[in-house]
């Protein structure tokens, strides 16, 4: 594991440390979120480190060609149009490893109680989620995870207490994951998402749209 190149105590500003890239370690306690990451960086939480929303997604990656890794952090209290905790809308690589994503909300513009991805939203780039726990996230669709556009998303292990949604031309692999909710899948008249289910449990089953279905593959 790479050494910390910067360490930030709770309550201290993160922006300067993040701009420098490298491995930024967050000390125990609550750190103010709503971070737009514009450089490749690893954010590593020490025991008890929390990144908390302050309006908008707690962490956003909108740029291209970034490599971002978030390790061992609790990400909570975000509220955004899409992706309350984490939003990936750039052609970048984002990894969430050993994180807890809890108590985040997506609320769409339009009056519906929530947009897509109370926890995590990805529309471009590649997202990998490993050994992470999602709980108490809220949205109309995909309370924990909403993948759409051309995003390629892999979730390995871990536990999702809510729902997952796949739309448009996204690719989603759920590998050995326990999902308490359901998978909500729908394409458009011009494309369909592809979802691979490898082991794990999907307690709420698959809600695949009858008219515009996704391609859902169960891999033994």
């Amino acid at each position: 594991m790479a050494e910390c190149t910067a360490r930030v105590e709770a309550g201290q500003p993160l922006a300067a440390a993040l701009a420098g890239g490298g491995v930024v370690c967050l000390g125990p306690g609550v750190h103010a979120g709503s971070l737009l990451l514009e450089a490749s960086v690893t954010l590593r939480g020490e025991a008890g480190a929390v990144l908390e929303g302050a309006g908008g997604s707690v962490v956003s990656v909108e740029g291209d060609d970034l490599v971002v890794r978030i390790e061992s952090l609790t990400v909570r209290g975000g509220s955004a149009e899409a992706g309350g905790a984490v939003s990936l809308t750039g052609y970048s690589a984002l990894a969430l490893v050993g994180c807890t994503i809890e108590g985040n909300t997506a609320r769409s513009r339009g009056g519906a109680p929530g947009g897509g991805g109370g926890g995590v939203y990805a529309s471009r780039g590649t997202l990998s989620v490993e050994g992470s726990t999602f709980r108490a996230n809220r949205a109309t669709v995909g309370s924990d995870l909403f993948v759409t556009g051309v995003a390629e998303v892999t979730v390995v292990g871990g536990h999702l207490g809510g729902d997952v949604a796949a739309r448009e031309g996204a690719k989603l692999v759920l590998d050995g994951v326990t999902v308490d909710g359901h998978l909500d899948a729908r394409g458009t008249t011009t494309r369909a998402p592809v979802v691979q289910l490898k082991g794990g449990r999907l307690r709420g089953g698959v809600k695949n749209d009858a008219s515009l279905p996704a391609r859902v593959e169960i891999v033994k």
Binding site: S79, E81, T89, S108, G110, G114, T189, A210, S211, L212
Partner: protein, 499 residues
């Protein structure tokens, strides 16, 4: 924000503020130039992905014909549409063979979903009154139409609208943001995106719709992002039938106003058909995606919180100068002033009613906090979630507690403490909460709502409410930073048609 949820009065054409359009758009940031250039502006149009019409240049329009509603090429169980063809009513029979007693008789244009197919007969599910009824009809009356939104009071039902024909050509001619008017679908993200693009580049809107007079259909071009720097045009064909009110079949239920400019309703219908129904696009979406799908250019998000107050006006002025469409979203709630609404004695029951600054306003569940300013009683908070009508209040020393988020009765808040745990006086209890509805009554800023930017007026910003009414007054940079939490720009393509 969905207008209906706030029980706003009937829509009217009351656009406020001055419109402002930017100079010529910038071609540079447009996605997928190679793909895009093979679309509208090219001599040879690409094959449409949807199977619908492409836009060949110099196309000879056909003479007006029968202009029948669009029929599906294949009858598919689960498909949504409408029963159109008789002009009066459509009878559903109890058996596939027909005859016997009718299962139901519904107005021509009623929304329907195919349940099964038997030769030239189909079993459909329709709404009659407050329930669904299944019955058989000739497949020939089934028209391919986007599914309607769901009834707020009963998710099993569609909203009670009927498809009615909009006569004539309603393609955009000289489109302006002010032409748009959101209806009963929760899709302000889409309508505000159309308005923002129309304000920045009318030709971008004008070029995306083509009317076929012979067929009475519109082909609407959107863009679908394929990957980095690549967006391909997608052509969606729709007819001129639109969901309308049953009691007034000239009053569109979704985008557009009776007698108004209707291009936004045509684009909305095509978008709904592409995405799977009005119900699907009523789930909400993002301006970032919708503007990109309209223009083919990738949108750019800017966090309002990243701007200093002095930077706000220059940001908007520069974006407008660069020909960018600008979309902005309002926060979903604001924290109330501290209130002391409780009456009663001792440990209770104590009751109280909070006051709001506007009749549309409601408490956001999960945000109520009650504290004793003298510190005797313990802190109390609620555990409600979005969509709840009532919630439980809990806290140290509290025996029972209830909050009615939407109510305005005297006992909207109810507290009862265990013996000796209550406040010295009821008026010691202070309440705060987050509220939704109208965040600024004087400026008419609606929570959780998207707006299209129109222009800078003096030292203030003028936005357009895509409802087409309840237009905000110009706001200061400080007010913008207070109320708005999203800001997205998009550079429409260079114009083919000068609007």
């Amino acid at each position: 924000m969905l207008q209906r949820q706030l029980q706003a009065p009937a829509r009217s054409r009351k656009g406020g503020g001055d419109s402002a359009t930017g100079p010529g758009p910038d071609r540079q940031s447009r996605l997928g130039n190679s793909a895009v250039q093979s679309g509208l502006g090219a001599k040879k149009a690409p094959e449409p992905e949807s199977g619908a019409n492409s836009f060949p240049d110099g196309e000879e329009l056909q003479e007006a014909g029968a202009q029948q509603p669009m029929r599906p090429t294949k009858l598919k169980v689960g498909a949504s549409g409408a029963l159109i063809g008789t002009g009066t009513t459509v009878k559903l029979t109890k058996t596939a063979e027909g005859g016997g007693r009718a299962a139901a008789e519904v107005p021509d244009g009623s929304a329907a979903e195919i349940r099964s197919v038997s030769g030239a007969r189909i079993k459909v599910r329709v709404r009659t009154g407050e329930k669904n009824v299944d019955g058989w009809v000739d497949a020939a009356v089934f028209s391919d139409q986007p599914a309607l939104t769901r009834d707020e009071d009963d998710e099993k039902l569609t909203d009670d609208y009927v498809y009615s024909k909009l006569e004539g050509d309603h393609s955009p001619v000289n489109p302006k943001g002010k032409d748009t008017a959101q209806g009963a679908a929760g899709n302000c993200f889409l309508i505000a995106s159309m308005a923002a693009v129309a304000n920045a580049s009318p030709s971008a809107i004008k070029d995306m719709v083509k009317y076929d007079k012979g067929k009475g259909t519109y082909t609407v071009r959107f863009y679908e992002e394929q990957g980095r720097g690549a967006a391909k045009p997608v052509y969606i064909e729709v007819d001129g039938y639109l969901p309308t009110e049953k009691t007034n079949r000239k009053d569109p239920s979704y985008a557009g106003d009776e007698g108004g400019v209707m291009w936004s309703a045509i684009i909305e219908k095509a978008y709904a058909k592409w995405k799977g129904g009005y119900d699907v696009i009523g789930e909400g979406g993002t301006g970032e995606q919708a503007m990109a799908e309209i223009t083919g250019s990738r949108s750019v998000d800017k966090r309002p919180s990243s701007l200093k107050e002095a930077e706000v006006i220059p940001f908007f002025q520069q974006a407008q100068k660069d020909g960018k469409a600008i979309y902005a979203g309002v926060k979903d709630g604001m924290k109330s002033e501290t209130q002391t609404p409780f009456t009663g004695t001792g440990d209770g029951p104590l009751t109280g009613k909070v006051t709001h600054t506007h009749r549309w306003n409601e408490i956001n569940p999960g945000t109520v906090e009650v504290t004793d300013k003298k510190g005797k009683a313990g802190d109390v908070h609620d555990s409600g979630e979005h969509g709840d009508k009532t919630g439980k209040l809990s806290g140290t020393g509290l025996k029972s507690g209830l909050v009615n988020y939407k109510g305005d009765a005297k006992d909207q808040l109810q507290l009862a403490y265990t013996k000796g745990a209550g406040p010295a006086q009821a008026s010691d209890l202070e309440v705060t909460f987050e509220y939704e509805g109208v965040l600024d009554v004087n400026k008419t800023i609606i929570a959780n709502h998207a707006y299209a930017f129109e222009g800078v007026v003096g030292k203030e910003l003028q936005f357009y409410n895509p409802w087409g009414t309840y237009q905000p007054k110009p706001i200061t940079p400080a007010e913008f930073l207070t109320y708005f939490d999203s800001l997205t720009t998009n550079t429409p393509p260079a114009a083919k048609t000068q609007a």
